[in-house]
Symmetry: C2
Subunit: 188 residues, 2 copies
């Protein structure tokens, strides 16, 4: 990776930490420099406006949530049944849980999107693409669940993660049990 | 309502607006006074600490989300089937959608709960009670769906509302269609 790209990613990672720890309103160029340990002005050099910064964060969140190619290829030989689909879902939830800063930053950006059209645009485009990729992945690999089911899972997993990463209530369901119940019921 | 209670509610409503419009980090006594149009120092008189203020907001959010007693009693004569359950869910979603400030403020508080244990405690206790009330309501009125189903609906509706109130993606499902699909599949 070129040195500039490394610096760019490090700054974006610092921005993700700031979002998760301070909330969207704490996200300033100065806070990013301070979290990244870079001289003041560095974040502004890479991302001149706040919208540029937010775009870069959305891209970086996408990178950090992308599954390892091996994780996908190791499963591609399996029968595309609901059990395999549940395993993929568990992978998603594992990635989101293992990297709570990324998930929390993403929730912060979604609330910021309700206030700022530029954020809504950047984030909306990325989420729309992710949704369509998920639908195409299921179709392409013969997994159960079409557009409607993928939509229901998007809503359900968002709500589950929001609960588990903030102040979880005791519903009697662990994360894994909740995923199993959702797969069992949403996929027919 | 006593004059003090009115002022208290008006300040809490202003706090809800501040949360929704500025995010959790914008929530200060001064911002509440400014949004409420009260002299500086008023919010601090009513809610000396930020935790007192947040507690008051949680209570007020609960009040604003409580269904009108007539809405409940007008339905209590109906057969407690999945159709009635779907109607209650639609009521919840209608209340959340009609009052987006309340829903957004609640999401802000949930993210704040990930950062501050005092918020986690106040909000967690309230949400846990609401969850148990929902389970008890279904049981008491013979509606379909026990603790597991209510848990799944809590997650699903949270994710659905977060999507619809921020930067919604096009999944091909309207809010009503999503509710119907969830009821159809989650209740057996």
């Amino acid at each position: 990776m070129a040195r500039n790209d490394e610096r760019r990613s490090a700054l974006a990672d610092a921005g993700i930490r700031v979002l998760a720890e301070e909330g969207a309103r704490g996200l300033t160029h100065r806070a990013v420099d301070s979290a990244a340990g870079t001289p003041r002005g560095t974040a502004s050099n890479y991302f001149p406006t706040r919208d540029d910064l937010i775009s870069a964060l959305v891209d970086r969140i996408g990178e950090r949530l992308t599954p390892h190619p091996e994780a996908v290829s190791s499963r591609s030989a399996r029968l595309p049944d609901r059990k395999l689909f549940a395993d993929y879902l568990r992978d998603v939830v594992r990635r989101l849980s293992a990297d709570p800063h990324v998930s929390l930053a993403l929730f912060e950006l979604r609330l910021e999107a309700a206030r700022r059209p530029a954020v809504a645009e950047a984030l909306g485009a990325w989420r729309q693409r992710a949704f369509q990729d998920d639908v195409a992945f299921n179709e392409g690999s013969g997994l159960p669940g079409g557009q409607t089911e993928i939509a229901l899972f998007h809503y359900a997993i968002d709500g589950l993660m929001l609960d588990k990463l903030t102040a979880p209530i005791d519903t009697g369901l662990s994360i894994d049990a909740a995923i199993d119940e959702f797969v069992d019921r949403l996929i027919r």
